[in-house]
């Protein structure tokens, strides 16, 4: 690997004490006057929690906003699928929570690979998000007295999670969507559904627009603006099987990367511990069961290898409750990365259950005995019903079988404190950026970050940029748009003309296997090198042998997928390179060579206390790795212990 460290990136963290940085920053940024805001056009790509909240809020401020999504309506973005809840440091339960504690838990949970100033701001804004959502009519769970209810969530020792049954993501998204539709009604936001962004247009080093494919007519369309915000989510679908929606993809951020936006920590992926195990061929996705199940479910495997007896016939003393055994303090509630790795370890050793041996039991019998079946039904009824419908088994009677699955990507486009990428005027929000979760994200924190970025951060920071970049009446007849459009058109034509033997889906599946086997839950030097060469070979074959039916002149789902898989075939390689370069274990990134004697992740703070930031150097050239050093002034790095 010829990756060499060049520049050190400046995150533009405001001066002053941690608790005052955001307030100081707000007080010092430049402002755009209310009368001038309508003269600026802001492009927002994506309508999930980050995109919809940003577009709505920027519209409220008076900017002219163009908002794009690949679905038929903004309300379907994948944020809708988040189940468990959203964290906030309200301390309504009087259990000792505070902004500082939420900040500290998030930094520690991220295994000391996140930026302190960003995380502190996130914890501060968490409270405003709850206020805003309630004012919008989001029907959070409540107590009989009418106040909001809370629950505890994996990896936290306070009850700070707000929830709306098992549909918190849906309800928060519908809140943001309603705010967005209000701005559409007011004429300040124009919606462009069924559009896929295929390139970002750069003029004089600044992001000035995008190229989209209209997914209904097939036409390529150009849009110009004064700034571009990407809120297009994560890239877990690079694994083919993941808990993400089947259309979730990396194309927008990947094409921005290839235009010069650097990529932060691409190898940091989260494998969620409580998902339904793989069932067989033809499967298109893995279903997540909320982590809240671990509050009452006990995880176990048989003590005997290859024990094929049905679970109810395995006596208590022949069961290994391995999380409770290894982590007595946190037990079944250890953070996600630890729970996932432990499940993989017991299955690798031959203790796994179910037809494939790649599953562990999540058992509610003890909780049902202790609390009664009604309480369990009230808490998890919808999840139990979902499990029953999918597997045909009744979890009230038989333990669930679960296994980890790719779920979230902490990596993403590198952004500074203002959420700006390394391309001036190009911003990345929510899961699309790398910023707040370090090497592992805590439960109920994704919703919080998406909404903090969209409702509260970008409306402040984008003004600071726009104030010094006055509108210049740029139109899409500028040659840069024509050139970007030609590039996109060439790729579309090329994909359709190959007419090979294997389908796009077959390539995607093969890539997913490589990623899962070598760039998944545990990684080593040899495997990563193999992954890099296998992905290169697969990519070469793809461009010679893929079969994309239909034409570019109408709705063509195979063509949409073909472009996305082409990008995954490049991104997968970068993830493997980053994992190889990061010769330490931290959070969800577990390098087998770097572990403590009892098998826990071994960080190497002396060498890797930084963000790895990758710069694209053109097709066929190795990317270059830069660094953003991480400085911990408040939360001093220590080895995470959940024992």
């Amino acid at each position: 690997m010829s990756a060499i460290t060049q520049t050190v990136l400046d995150a533009k963290i405001p001066p002053g004490p941690l608790a005052e940085k955001w307030d100081n920053h707000k007080a010092s940024v430049k402002l755009v006057s209310p009368a001038n805001k309508r003269k600026y056009t802001i492009i927002v790509v994506g309508t999930g929690l980050a995109g919809a909240s940003a577009a709505a809020t920027l519209g409220e401020l008076g900017y002219n906003v163009l908002n794009f999504c690949i679905q038929d309506t903004p309300r379907r973005a994948h944020s809708v699928a988040a189940q468990g809840g959203i964290n906030a440091a309200k301390n309504y339960q009087n259990d000792g929570d505070s902004v500082y504690r939420l900040f500290y838990d998030t930094i520690k949970g991220g295994d000391y690979r996140a930026r302190e100033a960003n995380v502190y701001r996130l914890a501060q804004l968490s409270n405003n998000i709850i206020d805003q959502a309630v004012a919008q009519g989001v029907p959070f769970a409540r107590e009989y007295g009418g106040v909001l209810a809370n629950r505890s969530f994996g990896g936290a020792q306070v009850s700070r999670t707000f929830y709306a049954r098992g549909q918190t993501g849906q309800q928060l998204l519908l809140g943001a969507y309603s705010a967005l539709m209000r701005q559409v009604d007011a004429g300040r936001v124009k919606l462009f559904p069924r559009r896929e962004m295929l390139d970002v247009v750069i003029i004089d080093g600044r992001a000035r627009g995008i190229i989209c494919r209209n997914l209904v007519t097939g036409e390529l369309e150009a849009y110009a603006g004064d700034a571009v915000c990407l809120a297009t989510g994560g890239y877990s679908t690079v694994f083919f099987l993941s808990t993400n929606a089947v259309n979730s993809n990396a194309t927008a951020i990947w094409r921005a990367y290839k235009k010069g936006a650097m990529f932060g920590n691409p190898c940091f992926t989260q494998i969620h511990p409580t998902c339904l195990p793989e069932a067989g061929a033809g499967q298109s996705k893995l279903t997540l069961m909320s982590e809240s199940l671990r509050n009452d479910g006990r995880v176990w495997v048989p003590k005997k290898k290859g024990d094929t007896r049905p679970p109810e016939q395995i006596p208590e003393d022949e069961r290994d409750y391995y999380l409770e055994r290894r982590y007595p303090a946190f037990g079944n509630l250890v953070p996600r990365d630890i729970a996932s790795r432990a499940a993989k370890a017991v299955c690798d050793e031959g203790y796994g259950v179910g037809a494939t041996g790649r599953a562990v039991y999540l058992d509610f019998s003890e909780a049902i005995q202790r609390l009664g079946v009604d309480v369990i039904r009230e808490r998890y009824g919808n999840l139990f019903a979902m499990y029953h419908e999918i597997t045909g088994e009744d979890p009230y009677k038989v333990p669930m079988r679960i296994y980890p699955a790719p779920h979230y990507t902490m990596g993403g486009l590198w952004v500074d404190y203002n959420l700006m990428t390394t391309i001036p005027g190009l911003y990345a929000l929510g899961e699309a950026n790398f910023s707040d979760h370090g090497a592992n994200r805590l439960g109920a924190s994704a919703l919080m970050q998406g909404l903090a970025d969209g409702y509260f951060v970008i409306p402040v920071t984008i003004g600071d940029f726009l104030a010094t970049h006055r509108p210049d009446g740029l139109k899409t007849d500028h040659p840069a748009f024509k050139e970007a459009m030609r590039g996109v058109e060439d790729q579309v034509k090329r994909l359709l003309s190959i007419n090979g033997k294997k389908t796009v889906r077959e390539y995607w599946w093969e890539l997913g296997r490589i990623m899962w086997d070598y760039v998944g839950m545990s990684r080593n030097e040899q495997g990563l090198k193999k992954a890099i060469s296998d992905i290169r070979a697969l990519r070469e074959q793809y461009w010679k042998d893929v079969k994309v039916p239909g034409s570019a002149a109408d709705l063509n789902k195979s063509l949409e997928l073909a472009g996305r898989v082409a990008d995954f075939l490049e991104l997968g390689e970068l993830m493997a390179m980053d994992a190889l370069d990061r010769a330490e274990s931290c959070g969800g990134h577990f390098r087998e060579e770097y572990q403590t004697p009892d098998g826990e992740a071994l960080r190497r703070d002396d060498e890797f206390c930084h963000v790895s930031v990758w710069e694209y150097k053109g097709e066929g050239n190795e990317p270059v790795r830069h660094k953003e050093p991480l400085v911990f002034e408040y939360a001093k790095p220590s080895q995470r212990s959940y024992k």
């Binding site: 309300r75 029907p139 107590e143 309603s178 067989g280 499967q283 109408d554």
Partner: protein, 248 residues
């Protein structure tokens, strides 16, 4: 397992449509209905034919993107189940299954099984929100909401906007969809300042989009994958009359 499929194919909005017959084999009982269609599409691609266009995204019953009429029923024969959650074990081996798009004047066909449901967005745009700018909210616990009211609002808010209610209704009415949103916001104190304007505008938009009137068949509730009750239609009517009486 093996299935014979009769699927609606239509090249574009103004093109004529027709049923075409296909056969798929080696389908596992735990496969979802859409995974079965994935198998068909892979097969068609390999044969050099154009795959069947259908919409889907989350494949776990929450995004509302998928929706097919299966053997005459919106989202198929299982109650409280979206098309993506429907498993093949509910269809006998060797069965012939008819697959159509959601049909309604207000949902024009785009291609094959994909329809344009943007009319539902325009109904929300007409008032399915509470007007509160970011940053102006009071502390969340400053607005107490009794638990039973919050639960009822949540029942209505669970709508995923799939449009099955419209597809199932003999009049292609969007009353359940519209009523659910009006209900949610009328139940909550936060929604009260705008309740008259909201119901008037949303109902007017629903009519403008070409949805039919509700004549109490109740098919919408039976087809709804989230079990949204037709009580919400009753509440919408009450809100509408209330707004009229108050002269809003």
């Amino acid at each position: 397992m093996k299935y014979h499929l009769r699927i609606w194919r239509q090249a574009g909005p103004d093109k004529p449509g027709r049923f075409e017959d296909y056969t798929v084999d080696n389908i596992a009982p735990d496969m979802s209905f859409l995974e079965m269609l994935d198998v068909l599409n892979e097969q068609l691609t390999k044969e050099g034919k154009e795959p069947v266009a259908f919409d889907s995204d989350c494949r776990e019953g929450i995004c509302g993107m998928c929706g097919l009429v299966i053997d005459g029923m919106a989202h198929g024969p299982r109650r409280l189940t979206t098309t993506c959650e429907l498993r093949m074990r509910h269809f006998p081996d060797g069965a012939t299954i008819t697959v159509e798009p959601f049909r309604a004047d207000a949902f024009p066909i785009i291609k094959d099984l994909c329809v344009d449901r943007s009319a539902l967005d325009r109904i929300i745009q007409a008032g399915g929100y509470i007007s509160v700018n970011t940053g102006s909210a009071p502390d969340a616990n400053a607005i107490p909401v009794p638990k039973p009211i919050a639960e009822e609002a949540m029942d209505a808010a669970a709508c995923i906007g799939c449009g099955a209610c419209v597809a199932a209704c003999p009049n292609a009415s969007a009353a359940l969809f519209t009523g659910a949103k009006i209900s949610q916001l009328a139940l909550l104190p936060q929604g009260h300042p705008e309740r008259e304007r909201r119901v008037n505008r949303m109902v007017a938009q629903m009519d403008l989009e070409g949805f039919g009137s509700c004549s109490n068949h109740g098919e919408c509730e039976a087809a709804c994958p989230k079990g949204i009750s037709i009580m919400n239609i009753a509440r919408m009517r009450r809100e509408f009359i209330r707004a009229g009486v108050r002269g809003a």
